[in-house]
Amino acid sequence: MEELNNLFHGFSVAMTLPNLAYMLIGIVLGVLIGVLPGLGGANGIAILLPLTFTMNPTSAIIMLSCIYWGALFGGAITSILFNIPGEPWSVATTFDGYPMAQQGRAAQALTAAFTSSFVGALFAVILITFLAPVLARFALNFGPAEYFAVQLLTFCSFVGMSKEPVAKVVAAMMLGFALAAVGLDSVTGQLRMTYGFPVLLKGFDFLIAVIGLFGIGEILLTMEEGLAFKGKTAKLSPNIVWQTWRTLPQYWLTFLRSTAIGCWMGITPGGATPASFMSYGVARRMSSDPESFGKGQVEGVLAPETAAHAAGTSALLPMLTLGIPGSPTAAVLLGGLMIWGLQPGPMLFVEHKDFVWGLIASMYLGNIVGLLVVLTTVPYWAAFLRIPFSVIAPVIVVICAIGAYTVHSSMFDVVMMMVFGVVGYLFKKLKYPMAPLVLALVLGDMAETSFRQSMLLSQGGLSIFWSNSLVGSIFGLAMLMLAWPLLAKLSGLLGSRRD
């Protein structure tokens, strides 16, 4: 019951007037970011992060995490009304959401999407409330070897779970690690891979990479599709909301399944996007009427939205307890923690109770605020998409440039943002995954430090990774994930031979 006490304390932190105002600002900005192409949760938060440097960390994280929830809500609006996923995790929502809008059931689809987002997030927050303290207490006993094993597991899960070709996942990840290693080596004080360029001294900041890869890269991709926004309109009346809500409880099993998929994919770094696809696929397979999917089946909206929100929310669990983010957006929030002077990881739960529980309480409140905001303001957001792309595109480029510059007040960063933008476009076209690159860039230094510390402890012997049952089982799990594509291929071969 200690958790409940802490949670109530958290509510008292989060429920102050300024924090509630930051929450509302965050949600509104987040929905805006979610609706606009080229701005998403990860780069939107990265751009706004420098503005929070002087804020109180609790208020700052409340605002930034609310931007995240807002972006998760906002993605659904464009998918359903315009058939344009504002966010990668809402691609699956277009499959049934847009057909519903075409049939004149846009309001029902939106209500269902927002409500299921809320349900998914709520379950994930409850999970965080009760699991995070336990995990944090457990992680207090971790040594460098355990930490490295967990980080290894994170990266091996990418290899095991990604849909992209294994070589490309590995290449993207190693590129991230290599970029993270550039600059001053904090252990020996030696310069690495700067090749005599003083601008490389401080290395590559992942915030710049996120703004470029997801912002500029996304704008280039959007250009390619030659966007002319032609969408449906929707007006949500309380009557329709109420009617839709009455039909939703019959889908409790879909909700439960999608939440489970979402939470799992969020905690292991699968992320919201694969979670939404997986959940959609499972819902269709389990449905009594799989043929109706893709033609405006409300379950096809519920399943991906629930899973995406559950995954997006539960991605914060490993970020808070272990300092290992489960998604690029969680990685940006983690970067924020470090900038505000908070060391993510289990000690956070001991040393900064106000911060942690204020954040967790704000997740409950933020999602309620978010649900109310999106249900009441949908028509206005749709209006944003009627602004011609020839206005929106250059403005977003300007916003990205400002965001990249303000991180370190460096012009070189703006140039790097462009480079990352082109890389992001090429990677997206050639199906290299972006999330492992970003996470490796964030965790690179941490992973290297824990690896070196483990090696110091063992005098260079790799056997430290199976020296006790805890580290051994994490390490074993990591190896299993790494070998997963190979095992899957083998079992496929065996299966086809039996046929």
Binding site: E224, G226, V397, I402, V415, L456
Partner: protein, 176 residues
């Protein structure tokens, strides 16, 4: 207006525009990764990949990262070359790539101009250029938006949040 491209390749769609195959960019990116891997490995060797008195040296960890990157990039490059002839995966059509460059080139010019002129003037020019060239807006609305947006950013960042943005000779003339 084109149909939303699924990016799956192989099908160039109804458009008559020539399609560019993915194999060229694929090979270029893979070779780029190989080159980066070599840079990482060479410099790791320079700073030392072994052990010093106080533990692993600076190149110890990056060296292996470089090796794995080399292997992954090399694998992609080689397998692209091996399937070169039969490859039909499409990178993009010409009518898709043109707008991409229509965006990319002004963006590059914008960033380079920022280095000399600060952020405000190039931003205004960039927005005005897009609105006139691609949006076919009339001058009054173009001027209003292209001047208004940088001004709004000026107020939010410099006045409200006290975050200085890059300024050039024109702002200096105005006394900022």
């Amino acid at each position: 207006m084109s149909t939303p491209d699924t990016g799956e390749g192989g099908d160039a769609g109804p458009s008559k525009d020539p399609a560019y195959l993915a194999r060229g960019p694929e090979l270029a990116v893979a070779l780029g990764l190989v080159l980066l891997a070599l840079l990482v490995i060479v410099d790791s060797l320079r700073v030392g990949i072994g052990w010093a008195d106080d533990g692993p040296r600076s190149g110890y960890f990056p060296f292996f990262i470089g090796l794995i990157l080399l292997a992954a990039g090399g694998f992609i490059a080689v397998s692209t070359l091996f399937t070169w002839r039969g490859s039909t995966a499409v990178f993009a059509r010409r009518d898709e790539l043109l707008p991409v460059f229509a965006m990319l080139i002004p963006m590059v010019v914008y960033v380079l101009a920022m280095v000399w002129l600060g952020i405000y003037l190039p931003s205004a020019v960039l927005i005005a250029y897009f609105m006139r060239r691609h949006g076919k807006f009339a001058w009054p609305s173009t001027l209003a938006v292209s001047a208004g947006v940088p001004l709004a950013f000026f107020l939010v960042f410099e006045k409200w949040f006290l975050v200085p943005l890059p300024k050039g000779p024109i702002e200096a003339m105005l006394g900022f």
